[in-house]
Symmetry: C2
Subunit: 155 residues, 2 copies
C-alpha cells in the first residue's frame, strides 16, 4: 500500500494552459463509495486499477495494479458508473514538485482543478500564481463524486 | 473476459460432508452492487480480485486478477464491506462436472449451497442426490448479498 497525500486547488486564471502537454485521461468507478473507491483509468497506452481507502485529512491509502487495456476499455464502456470522467491532464513542474492540472470534459466541462502530491502532510510548498482557492476537503470535487453530481449540474 | 454460467442449489441432506477436502475461503466485497461486483478472495496461498458484471439468466461476465497476499489481507480486514464471508468449500466430482459445496461460517453459519459451473446455459447435467432446491435466481443467496443480509438474520 502507498499513502497518497494530496492537496487540491481551483485555478485563479488561465496561465497554466501554456504549460505542460495535455494528456487525455479516461476514468471510471466500479465503486465510488468513499470508504472503498475502485477506479479504472486509461492514460495513453497504460491502463490501471486503483483502490483507495477513506480520506483522513489529506491522506488516503492507495493500491495500484496494471490492467489489460482490453479489460479496462470494457469496464469503462459497460461496467463503470456512468458517465465516466474524461479530462486533459497537464503535469507542470513548480517549486520542486509536479502540479497536475486537470481540465474536465463532458458533463464536467468548465471545471479545472490543480493537485499537488506531497511526501507528508506538513510538507511546505510554494503555490504557482494560477493556483486559487484550496478545495482539498470539499467532497464535491472528488472525481468519484463528479460522476453522480457533475460540475454542469452544480448551478 | 470470461463468461460464468452457474447453477446453484440448496442441499437436501448431509452426504456431501464425507466427499471432498474442505478448504477455507475468505472473501469480501469492495463493491457488492449487482451491476459491478468487486470481490477479494483468499484461498490457501492464493489471493485474487474478481470483477463480475450483472447476471443475465445464469450467466455473467467475470474477470480475475491475482493480488499480492498482503494487499488482499488488508482489503479483507480493513476495506471490504463488513462482515466478510468465510466458508469451507468442498470440490466434489460428479457426472463429469465439479460441484462446489460451500458451508458458510460466522453470520451465515447454517447455510450450505452447492454450485455447478457449466460450459453453456443449456448444458444437461445430472444432480447428485444431496442436491436439493435450485436457488440460482434467488438474489438472497448471492454471496455479495449475504454481507448485508446474512443467513442468520433471515428468520
Amino acid at each position: 500500500m502507498g499513502i497518497e497525500i494530496e492537496r487540491k486547488f481551483l485555478v485563479a486564471h488561465d496561465a497554466w494552459r501554456s504549460q505542460g502537454e495535455p494528456v487525455l485521461l479516461r476514468q471510471g468507478y466500479l465503486s465510488s463509495h468513499p470508504e472503498r473507491v475502485v477506479r479504472v483509468r486509461i492514460e495513453g497506452s497504460r491502463a490501471v486499477m486503483t483502490i483507495k481507502s477513506k480520506n483522513t485529512g489529506a491522506s488516503r491509502g492507495e493500491w495500484e495494479y496494471p490492467l489489460p487495456m482490453e479489460d479496462a476499455a470494457e469496464f469503462l464502456d459497460k461496467l463503470c458508473e456512468q458517465p465516466i470522467i474524461e479530462k486533459y491532464r497537464r503535469r507542470i513542474p513548480f517549486g520542486g514538485f509536479t502540479w497536475e492540472v486537470d481540465e474536465f470534459l463532458g458533463a464536467n466541462a468548465g471545471l479545472v482543478v490543480a493537485e499537488i502530491e506531497l511526501p507528508s502532510e506538513d510538507t511546505q510548498f510554494d503555490k504557482p500564481d494560477w493556483a486559487g482557492e484550496e478545495v482539498t476537503h470539499d467532497r464535491r470535487y472528488y472525481n468519484s463524486a463528479l460522476v453522480a453530481q457533475p460540475f454542469s449540474k452544480w448551478r
